[in-house]
């Protein structure tokens, strides 16, 4: 079987590099402007697109990208808190998708499967960078005295009013990696403790602890913002 990307997108042997690049950009541009299908049609379309992409249809693959790029990129952004890294990880996720889509069995929805694939890509990358997820098990044994201690001495303030979206986003970005992973995967992405523990290769208790500490840290940061006046 020939390479579908090569078959259709292979440069013309008689044209120069500029012409190849122009063709490539034009093709990419035409894909970018294509609007995703309406939500009601998306599941049906997705099944069909996936079948076509598995068969080597690169336009179908491009449309799968268009359907899922926002969710996957956003996930990567939240997990690593860095735009450039998020772009690299989004790219790697879709490359992995292209390699592995033929192994998708439909046990879960394609969207869920792709989401998990992206989480695994990010975690693999973090492990390569030396983030020791296993060491979080030891970390959970230590109570975060500083965060807890603040609640003991006096009547502490409670977060007042609505939480500012940007403030929360920045606070999440600034969380230590282990805390951020637990918070993003549980509170934002909706994974349960068991799923996160499996993905991070650590105990469920550890996940709960990291999640709790993440929330405590976010509370500290948000309460320190101007406009959060003490009560009591």
């Amino acid at each position: 079987m020939s390479n579908p990307w090569h078959r259709t997108h292979s440069p013309d042997a008689n044209s120069g590099a500029v012409s190849r690049e122009a063709t490539r950009r034009k093709r990419a541009s035409s894909l970018e402007v294509a609007s995703p299908p309406p939500a009601s049609l998306s599941a049906l379309c997705e099944t069909q697109l996936l079948a076509q992409a598995k068969a080597g249809d690169q336009l179908a693959f491009a449309q799968l990208y268009a359907l899922h790029k926002k969710r996957i990129y956003s996930l990567c952004m939240r997990m690593v808190g860095n735009r450039t890294e998020a772009e690299d990880l989004t790219q790697e996720t879709f490359l992995q998708l292209h390699r592995r889509m033929s192994t998708f069995r439909g046990d879960s929805s394609f969207s869920t499967w792709l989401h998990r694939l992206a989480v695994n890509v990010v975690l693999m990358n973090l492990r390569k960078k030396g983030l020791s997820l296993i060491s979080m098990d030891r970390a959970m044994e230590t109570v975060d005295e500083r965060s807890l201690g603040r609640s003991f001495g006096s009547l502490d303030l409670t977060l007042s009013g609505a939480i500012d979206r940007l403030a929360l986003e920045h606070a999440v970005d600034d969380l230590p990696a282990g805390y951020r992973l637990a918070f993003v995967l549980h509170d934002i992405e909706g994974y349960d403790h068991q799923e996160i523990a499996s993905a991070l290769d650590c105990s469920i208790g550890n996940v709960k602890s990291q999640l709790h500490k993440a929330r405590l840290k976010l509370r500290d940061v948000l309460r320190a913002l101007p406009g959060q006046e003490e009560r009591g």
Binding site: W5, R27, Y73, L168, E169, H193, H212, L222
Partner: protein, 88 residues
């Protein structure tokens, strides 16, 4: 309020919070929580943050150039690799 600020009681309760909040059980009737303003405030804050996280964080679009990069990478990969066989 003095009796509500018992450090040991608060410390013990808060040490259990990760497990309590992680369970699906309703622990609003917990005796310490009923009496302790501090721990109730803490719980309210943590629940507010968790709820805010679910409602905030709208998706972010990747830059347009990303697809070009992916397409180029796929083209390069295609030169040395064929898609895996369907295992379904």
């Amino acid at each position: 309020m003095i009796e509500d600020a018992n450090p040991m009681t608060c410390r013990q309760f808060q040490a259990q919070l990760p497990e309590l909040m992680g369970s699906r059980e309703n622990f609003e009737a917990d005796r310490h929580l009923q009496r302790c303003t501090l721990c109730r405030a803490l719980l309210t804050d943590l629940e507010t943050i968790a709820e805010a996280a679910r409602q905030l964080f709208p998706g972010v679009e990747p830059p347009d150039e990303l697809w070009s990069q992916i397409e180029s990478a796929l083209w390069n990969e295609g030169k040395s690799r064929e898609p895996e066989k369907n295992t379904e």
